[in-house]
Symmetry: C2
Subunit: 894 residues, 2 copies
């Protein structure tokens, strides 16, 4: 390799900087950056990722690297005023990994490097703390043996446990100096026996052994699978940070702590943190000691009765160090222009910063921090927008499980629709409706849901299913309703006949209490405290106003009812991109007429039944048009296959009832159900295929749309109906359906003596339609990309069935993500881009939008922006997210 191998930092003379994450890793770059801007960090050096890549190709440490490291060590020794592993006053090192992208806990660390039988005495002498020194040595033996020499870590733990048992103590801290000395001897023996060689007392050998181990840890199985899981490249390599050890556990004038520059839970601009005196970093998080509040402001915010209220704060016990820390807080926020998550150690009164990084925060905090930092001049509006992630908004829109609550997770499914829900378990849609009428709250648990369950789903607080993926019926409908849903929970077994379910080894009966978390996919027994959402937030309003100003993509909603339409408007939807008409056929008053239509054996019979449906559907459209006054409403004509509206073949009672109602025979009804059965309904007789073969169905729907539009227009509503033909795969399908629509509209308008503008367009959801988009566009006013079906057909994945292999595929890295959640830009995206280009090449002015589930997914929204769509459409509860994602896309793509 060429170039510099080692980057020194310390004494504000860092050779690297925060921009060099690729070469120095995130940790190394940030240490250098802090050092450069005058923040005290323990001196050290970073070995570049390039060295790691070289090492992995040929596992030797080149002389040039040793030489550069030696030079850096000399600088450190000069700054610290002591020598590495000097027996009288030893300088010790830590050795940590640090890749470009954080991979927490995935790679190895060795601490206290430089200790041996001699130097440990120097440490005792300087620290005056024998137990501390031997414990540090013991830890080095343990970590080095495990990480560098490949000794099974369990062996060390067993030795400690055995010693504690012998001594009759429970905590490591109860072991005395003599115990630790014995343990050190035993650890050495374990290493010798297990590794076949001695623990190296040579400090140089320790150092390079540790560096090599960190290099190697890039390719441990857990690191590889972590990268697969998080879709990270395998060729980045890790940097290695060798840094002076500082100790917060050297007495009453030492301490260690973690802090956030603002409150990460609500975003309030106050310095939030915890610390412990005479402790190591791991003690703060381990829970063996109770960390104290950083300052009085923080302590005062604790609830009455919290024992920490009785403990002193850093502000009080080490006012000088606290003052320095406050200055650093200020400096970091101004430098990074974001809320920081920091780690610090105070050794003998001297403050050292060990880490800074952008802090994780709740949705509410993210919004407040962004808005306030803009006010404070720390962020531009664009930066403030980028500081709020779409996932943050998602939290704001739904109930959340109280982060403070202790919960017992029984199992996990797919986080299909966000938010937490709880109530009594019911196993059928009917039970859900009945229970809710009786004033109870329920969670509907099903193997899977079907369109017949809609009312029950609507009644329930949330939905839990054993089968199906992120775009299964339950998931799609729940998201549309904004209702929490955990789908495809493989741990769950539902037994309808006995009215019970089993999960996590526990069995629940109907009526038992359950909580589900659709944000995480968790299923929890009983009730747990929830935190309610609130959208009425001035900070949020400012962020969203900037987003709307910044974005060029329109945002519509997928809504089938006036209620959903109104709700989506409050979330900022400017129109309906997908109004599914099939849900209109499932109401109590309609399903029978629909079945009568399906079971009719002639066109005349079907028309007779359809005429009864017409006024009902017209009324539906009037409601939706009125709710969307001033905005376009894209109505998709009937899409699902007809058998979805009939009982299934084994529902004997329903069939008998249906036959009775229609004056037909059970055999005839059964025969019709059988004749409509399909092997692959997804690829069957549905969408415009029904429209062409049973023209009367679409004719009635178009008539209802036009009549409704004229009716509401007469009442002063600014109505903009768009008729959308689904499942078009050939030019003639759209041409014929367009001609039919125009003919019906002309007739109705002539009859009523009034006019209304409308568009006729198509879904692009079949690969062939994308391929023929130039010809199809000649008959279209708009294209709406139905990326759910387009994904199904382009991949050959049934979204109902892919749940058995898609999770494996994502886990194995065969796919970067579930293509039903994130649009597959590499494959499906090619078809979308092709259809956009070919469609526009037709010379027609086409409106282009997307109405698949991807319309609410941020990375997919970014794609839609880049590919030149006019709008995205998503379920009401995703509308704010889509608005923000669209703004992000506009900012990121210039």
């Amino acid at each position: 390799m060429e170039g510099k191998r080692v980057y020194y930092f310390g004494n504000h003379e860092a050779e690297g900087d925060g921009a060099q994450k690729e070469l120095l890793g995130g940790k190394g770059a940030n240490l250098a950056e802090m050092d450069r801007i005058g923040i005290p960090v323990p001196p050290g050096f970073t070995i570049t990722t390039a060295c790691c890549i070289d090492y992995l190709a040929e596992p030797t440490i080149p002389a040039a690297l040793r030489a550069e490291a030696d030079a850096a060590i000399a600088r450190i020794e000069k700054v610290m005023g002591k020598k590495y592993a000097d027996p009288s006053d030893p300088l010790l090192f830590s050795c940590r990994s640090g890749a470009k992208v954080s991979m927490p806990g995935m790679m190895d660390t060795v601490l206290n490097i430089g200790l041996n039988d001699e130097t440990v005495r120097g440490l005792i002498a300087r620290s005056g703390n024998e137990r501390f020194a031997y414990d540090s040595y013991r830890r080095l033996l343990q970590m080095y043996g495990d990480v560098v020499m490949g000794v099974d870590g369990e062996l060390f733990e067993h030795a400690i446990d055995a010693l504690k048992a012998k001594r009759g103590v429970k905590l490591d801290t109860e072991l005395g100096v003599a115990d630790l000395q014995a343990l050190i001897a035993e650890f050495k023996a374990i290493v010798r026996k297990s590794a076949g060689r001695d623990f190296p007392s040579d400090p140089r050998e320790q150092l390079w052994g540790s560096v090599e181990a960190v290099f190697r840890s890039w390719n441990t199985p857990r690191a590889v699978s972590y990268r697969n899981l998080n879709r990270l490249p395998h060729d980045m390599g890790t940097a290695v940070n060798v840094q002076t050890m500082v100790f917060g556990n050297m007495g009453a004038n030492s301490a260690t702590g973690v802090a956030f520059t603002r409150d990460p839970s609500n975003g309030e601009n106050f310095f939030y943190g915890e610390f412990l005196v005479d402790a190591q970093g791991e003690d703060v998080v381990a829970g063996t000691r109770t960390p104290q509040a950083l300052n009085l402001q923080g302590r005062d915010r604790l609830p009455q009765g919290n024992p920490v209220r009785d403990l002193p704060t850093l502000e009080e016990v080490m006012p000088a160090a606290y003052g320095t820390l406050c200055g650093i807080r200020e400096k970091l926020e101004h430098h990074y222009r974001n809320m920081q998550d920091i780690e610090f150690t105070i050794q003998d009164g001297k403050l050292w910063m060990l880490q800074t990084r952008n802090g994780k925060r709740t949705g509410r905090a993210a919004v407040r921090i962004a808005a306030e930092m803009q006010t404070e001049g720390l962020m531009t509006p664009d930066q403030a927008l980028l500081a709020v992630e779409p996932g943050h908004l998602d939290q704001l829109l739904h109930d959340q499980i109280d982060p403070a609550a202790r919960v017992e997770v029984l199992g996990k499914g797919l986080p299909a629709s966000p938010g937490a829900a709880q109530g009594e378990i019911v196993f059928s849609a009917e039970d859900a409706v009945a229970a809710v009428k009786a004033g109870r709250k329920v969670v509907l648990v099903r193997r899977e849901t079907s369109p017949e369950d809609i009312e029950g789903m609507n009644s329930a607080q949330g939905i839990l299913t054993a089968r199906g993926g992120m775009t299964s019926h339950a998931a799609v409908v729940a998201r549309g309703m904004g209702k929490p849903c955990v789908a495809g929970c493989g741990d769950l077994a539902v037994d309808y006949p006995s009215g019970s379910m089993t999960i996590g080894g526990k069995t629940f009966k109907a009526g038992d209490l359950l909580t589900i978390d659709g944000t995480t996919g968790q299923v929890i027994g009983g009730l747990v405290p929830l935190v309610a959402p609130s959208l009425d937030d001035p900070h949020l309003n400012r962020i969203m106003a900037w987003a709307d100003e910044r974005r060029t993509l329109g945002v519509r909603t997928n809504a089938d009812t006036p209620h959903d339409a109104r709700q989506a408007r409050t979330f900022g939807a400017a129109g309906i991109g997908l109004c599914r008409t099939e849900h209109m056929f499932f109401g109590e008053d309609r399903i029978k007429k629909m079945r009568e239509m399906i079971l009719a054996d002639s066109e005349a019979g079907r028309r007779k039944a359809l005429v009864k449906i017409l006024p009902l559907q017209q009324a539906d459209f009037e409601g939706i048009f009125t709710a969307m006054d001033g905005y376009p409403v894209t109505v998709r004509l009937l899409d699902p296959p007809l058998h979805e509206f009939l009982p299934t073949a084994d529902q004997q009672a329903e069939i008998a009832e249906l036959a009775g109602e229609l004056g037909s025979s059970v055999a005839a009804v059964k025969h019709r159900i059988e004749s409509l059965h399909e092997m692959n309904p997804m690829l069957g007789h549905r969408g415009c295929r029904l429209g062409l073969t049973y023209p009367e169905i679409y004719e009635v729907q178009v008539e209802a749309i036009i009549r409704a539009a004229l009716a509401v227009k007469a009442r002063g509503v600014d109505v903009k109906p768009e008729i959308m033909i689904p499942l078009v795969g050939t030019v003639r399908e759209l041409k014929d359906m367009r001609e039919m629509s125009v003919a019906i509209a002309d007739r109705v308008m002539k009859e009523l003596g009034a006019k209304v503008d409308y568009l006729v367009g198509t879904m692009i959801e079949i690969p062939r339609a994308a391929l023929l988009a130039d010809k199809i566009a000649l008959h279209a006013d708009f294209f709406s990309f139905g990326t759910n079906d387009l994904t199904q057909m382009t991949f050959g994945y049934s979204r109902d069935d892919a749940g058995v292999f898609l999770p494996d595929y994502v886990r194995m890295g065969v796919l970067p993500s579930d293509p039903f959640q994130q649009l597959d830009q590499e494959g499906v995206g090619q078809l979308v881009a092709m259809a956009v280009e070919r469609g526009r090449s037709s010379g027609r002015h086409l409106h282009l939008g997307i109405c698949g589930e991807h319309g609410g997914d941020p990375s997919s929204v970014d794609f839609c922006h880049r590919v030149g769509l006019d709008y995205v459409s998503c379920s009401p509860f995703r509308v704010p997210i889509a608005r923000l994602a669209a703004a992000h896309a506009a900012i990121r793509n210039g």
Copy 2:
């Protein structure tokens, strides 16, 4: 319009010629051509298709057209030596349609134009036959009234029937002169009453009325739907042929006949035809009189006892005219270089030719004619190849229903696999096997078939299904077996419980006799005489030798057994393009092991079962490799979802048996069956998705392939195995499966200390694979286009379900043809072309082939040639057809 409107012909001075079919229509161009080459045709003129197009846009006859027609009439009058509608010796005209492409019977004709109360007397005077003249007049009134004046034709028929009843006679010919005169008066009254005006006696008005009617008949509903059905454009228009009437019914010195220049049933080079003395053309085909043999040669070929053997031939009764006809036969064959189908009329001893066109012929005749015409110097080998259509070969490969047999067609399904079959009806695969073991022949009748029916299908003479399309399971498997199959017969209702079926209003029980014709889709009650096929034909051998020389596309076969492989070799297959391994799991000895594998609940359990399958599958491969010695064999790893190998949930007895065999519980087996159930199995957990999630399955298959290859290689077989990974949609799928294959092969070869060359490639059958072909190609030695699945996914059509709308789509012209039969070049073809281009752009040398059903379809083979594939692969019985089609493609595309 510009240019000439009217083209005169007659007296060998025709203005047009045979190449002008677009302008003059097929009939007009051929009449002009015959006239030019010295063949006597009644003089006339053709009004161009351009005039028709103009007329349809603006329905008036321009003065220029009248003037040109008048000039042509004057030339006719001069040649014929009489005047149009001259009362003393009238020249009469026929007026016939004639489009570029023949649309037999779809448009209108008017004969005897020019007759009226005056001219009929001139016709009587010149013909000396009063009855003939009045009958001709009566016919004009009837045709003109119907065609030109829009009178319901039934009215005339009722009048004739009433008169016959009154006279007490049965035949029209029994009506006398007085009767005909009365009828003429009545017909005139009918016209007047029905059309509101008189039949025009003015001959010019008659002529132009007829011309306009023919123009208009281009757009009659039946003509429009004929064009839709035959995918003909609607903007061609028809030419109009006005031609001198000649009469074969003017006495004993007149005659009319039809003939083929060679025997159309076997191709023998002799002049085959029929004629009648004193008759009109329609009498020859109407069956009211028995036509006589044209010559002695033809009469001698009639079977003993045929009454025609007692009738004189034209050769005997009109030797001069016959001699002229023989000369014309010679001239036409030399001119058209093809066997001709001709019509002639002898009026008063003078021979006139009315029509010539290439004659329809049987497959056997086509082959013999082409081969012999090449020998005779009439055709080049290329022309001979083009003179044999792929459909002709199809006939040669299968039993056919004797064309002479009278059959009662009960219903019609899809012609799914060609050939005729007959036997006793059975309703289950088991019954088929049992009956055949007992020495009986059966037709297997099912609602639809599934992989479990394979043995029964193999035992049966043929298969009839009520459901499914051209690529349903029954159709695909039957074609693979070369077994006749009628699929998706909507007229058929099968009732398993009662063991009966109903079709065409008749009910059949198991054991009743049935005949099916997979070439036409006909279902026929009882047994009818069949004609056996023969491939041992020197003419065919010559044609196929030319084809193999000419074609550049390789032809392989889809075969799963050594038997099929050997059969395909005899048909000329040079390798196997698709060896499906799933059929290897359905044998009695394997299915149980396969089920044991599927029901195992761990990888170890699956491996244990798979180890038992390995030697069986290896033996299968050894057989196939040996049968294909010297040629490549592409083995597709397991493709269908696992549930296809298990009993279905309602097969209680089978489940119980299976549970018993495996020492498992019924509940556990049921649970596994349920857990494997898929909503859309076509888009489910199958192909390489199984390979990745249950790696042990593919590992065992690859091991079996490599072991088999090494074993047969050791026995001297030249083996060329190609491992094909199905259903690849992502790069990683192929990459992983290739690495796995190479690892297994390396291991086995090392273990056995021997080597064998093999390829690893993939099906391109998922749209996404075509889109990513450049990246996928990096891991492939070959692509094989699986156009069945590619068509399913590109269109979003399930081939199992599309039967309910695809026939409608083809009928309505939404699709030009069933895309499962003819590759959709416009849509699916784009993906194929894209994958070819992108795949080759990867820089790898890729072998490219197609193994979908389209590999045996001529138009698809042509596409494969143009797009640059290396080979096509099809079922054994399509191999000769593919070879011929490939030669056609090479000739047509230069």
